[in-house]
């Protein structure tokens, strides 16, 4: 088996997961647990495809997808930040809403093909020099622009969260909103911005599926990848850097079932389909055992913030 080929395809398969994981991560860092990832991905997927077909412009398609994802985030933010509704229920409702939204707008899209300019734009684009590195170059730097954007987004988010003042503020909002509020941070503004940003990233993850990966429209194109992303946030313990590795690992698990037949190992395909969830549970157990502050979820996660409660 050609491992470079396998891993290169794993990166490709992990990219939608990476975007969705980053989206959910930034949302959770603001203290809001948004289980609507699947819905926002679908909204992004259908809108990206729709705009792509209508305009043949790859950038507009990507912007459209991000906007649709952010719209999902906006609904969630309005419910949970302004109205302080239950986050779990709102997130689940958003998943159902996104599925319906995508199904409705996708009715006329089945059988349509992605226009040539978009396919070319997101075709393989080798990075000069870097792609000549043996093995690693073939895996990481002989991909398409969307994949590279994933690297950039993850690293930028890491830098933002851990090395900027605003990132520190955001983490404070997620950990202890009362303290953050006391220090003069505008809690609602932070929550809204980052939930919207998270939604946009989830939308991009969906668009990667409909515009680059498959690429054609099919109802429910995400097929549960949004839920894997929610698990991935836990698996990578809220670190954008680890999200890169985690997403590609889960991408690898997604495709490995088709490849190990060559190795003559007998593993039931159902076990392989279970692997992402099993490793997530194992990681959860480890986190709760080790109780290290660095790897713990944001303390304020899931709780609406009432200033009056202080």
């Amino acid at each position: 088996m050609d491992f470079a080929l396998l891993f290169a395809y794993a990166v490709h398969a992990g990219t939608p997961l990476l975007f969705a994981t980053l989206g959910e991560m930034v949302t959770e860092k603001s203290g809001n647990l948004n289980l609507g990832v699947e819905g926002m991905m679908l909204m992004g997927a259908v809108m990206g495809f729709q705009v792509g077909i209508a305009t043949s412009n790859p950038l507009l398609a990507v912007v459209g997808a991000a906007a649709a994802g952010a719209l999902g985030g906006l609904i969630f933010a309005f419910l949970t930040v302004t109205l302080r509704a239950n986050q779990v229920v709102s997130g689940l409702a958003l998943t159902i809403f996104g599925t319906g939204f995508a199904g409705f707008f996708g009715q006329k899209l089945t059988g349509k093909i992605v226009p040539g300019p978009i396919t070319t734009f997101f075709g393989e684009a080798k990075v000069p020099l870097l792609s000549d590195i043996p093995f690693v170059g073939k895996i990481l730097f002989a991909q398409n622009l969307f994949v590279y954007f994933g690297y950039v987004a993850a690293i930028a988010l890491g830098v933002y969260l851990f090395h900027t003042r605003k990132g520190l503020n955001l983490r404070a909002v997620g950990e202890n909103p009362a303290a953050a509020d006391a220090s003069g941070i505008n809690i609602s503004l932070y929550k809204y911005t980052h939930i919207l940003l998270g939604g946009a990233l989830c939308g991009l993850g969906g668009a990667y599926l409909s515009l680059v990966y498959v690429p054609t429209w099919k109802e429910n194109i995400t097929a549960g990848r949004g839920w894997i992303a929610v698990a991935l946030v836990i698996f990578t313990t809220w670190s954008p850097y680890r999200a890169i590795i985690g997403s590609y690992l889960f991408g690898c698990l997604d495709i490995i079932g088709f490849r190990i037949q060559d190795l003559k190992i007998k593993v039931s395909p159902y076990i392989i389909d279970m692997l992402p969830y099993i490793v997530t549970i194992v990681v959860l157990v480890f986190i709760s055992m080790r109780k290290s502050k660095e790897n713990a979820p944001p303390k304020g996660l899931g709780n609406p913030y009432f200033r009056e409660d202080r």
Binding site: A13, L83, A85, I96, T110, G111, T216, K218, E219
Partner: protein, 367 residues
């Protein structure tokens, strides 16, 4: 309090959005109020595959007989199906088609309660006085598409993206392989299971894995065009399924075994209107036209058209049968002896749990 009310309203509205895609009705200007036909679909009407083929049949029925039809899409294979059927009856339907295997038992149950309503179930095996079942001998066009693939392949490796290890899929793989080997005994057919009908990304993954293993023709028993697109992106060739989809992958697409339900629907409903209808177990083939092989495109190999036409004629007039012995399984044991022909029930039944020689792949035994 006020906020709670608003948030409840917003959440409920969002959930109600799911209904946007739930159901639909299409009513032609009917001049014959004697029949009202209802269809229960397992997927969205425009799914680009299985359900769309049924929906095309429904539209054909409306046009031919100028009658009223209703349909309900994305009905899960469970108790919801029974509810959907009862809804249809409540809306005045007296002819009901349920178009997925998992609807069988629910259809039977409701059929017993309503003896005056005619029921049709697709792809199952049960029937009653007012309850018919229907399907097509899809293995016939599968065999023909195998001829096309066998003539086209240069690597002598053909990839087959398949959904589940059920007789319907397995006999398709076997028929396809027999077709391949009839023109190219050196070619093998590699099978990858996706274990899903709905995940088009997985279908693509499976196709790419097959391409990475050196296959240069890809075919599928899955409902999306993703495997065809995968072949096109690698500059090799593809054979589709369900519907004729030459536009999805114009440089790769050669043909597809396809469903053509319309004429059957028209025949049955006409018989009901004329009062001559009787319950039946229908499984038409190429001759009856319920299934077909899509016209070969220019990508198809030279000479394939003639070869396919020749074999098609033999299948139609009964001088050739796809599952006529001798047929060997993967281990080389004779499964069908010379001079014997497998019956329809043997081909579609649970005994169809083995691959013919030339298939590379495993059937996970679930006993």
């Amino acid at each position: 309090m006020f906020k709670k009310v608003i948030s409840s309203i917003v959440v409920l509205t969002m959930i109600a959005a799911l209904l946007l895609t739930g159901c639909g009705s299409n009513s032609g200007s009917s001049n014959d109020s004697k029949v009202k036909v209802g269809f229960i679909y397992v997927g969205p009407a425009g799914d680009g595959g299985w359900t769309e083929a049924h929906n095309n049949g429904r539209l054909y029925l409306e046009k031919q007989l100028n009658i009223k039809t209703l349909y309900r899409e994305s009905v899960p294979e469970g108790p919801e199906c029974e509810k959907a059927i009862r809804d249809m009856i409540a809306q005045g339907c007296n002819v009901i088609f349920t178009t997925s295997f998992g609807f069988m038992d629910y259809t039977e149950k409701v059929a017993k309660e309503f003896p005056n309503i005619k029921f049709f179930h697709c792809s199952g095996y049960k029937k009653g006085e007012n309850f018919a079942n229907y399907f097509g001998r899809m293995y016939e066009p599968r065999y023909l598409s195998g001829i096309v693939a066998g003539m086209k392949t240069k690597a002598n490796k053909i990839g087959y993206v398949a959904a589940f290890e059920i007789p319907e899929v397995i006999n398709g793989i076997n028929a396809f392989t027999l077709g391949v080997q009839s023109v190219n005994p050196n070619a093998i057919v590699k099978v990858k299971w996706t274990h899903t009908w709905i995940d088009s990304a997985k279908e693509k993954d499976a196709a790419v894995a097959l391409l990475d293993e050196g296959c240069d023709v890809i075919t599928q028993h899955n409902d999306s065009t993703a495997p065809q697109i995968a072949a096109e992106q690698r500059g090799v060739w593809a054979i589709g399924y369900d519907l004729d989809t030459p536009k999805a992958a114009p440089k790769a697409y050669m043909t597809a075994p396809i469903w053509n339900w319309g004429p059957y629907y028209v025949d049955q409903v006409k018989a009901i209107i004329d009062g001559t209808w009787k319950t039946s177990e229908y499984h038409g083939g190429l001759k009856e036209g319920i299934i077909d092989l899509a016209p070969l495109t220019d990508v198809a190999p030279a000479g394939a058209k003639e070869k396919v036409a020749e074999m098609r004629k033999k299948i139609e007039d009964g001088t050739f049968h796809v599952f006529a012995g001798p047929i060997k399984d993967q281990a080389g044991n004779i499964k069908v002896e010379a001079g014997k022909v497998l019956e329809y029930n043997e081909i579609m039944g649970t005994g169809m749990n083995w691959f013919v020689q030339g298939v590379e792949g495993k059937i996970e035994q679930s006993k």
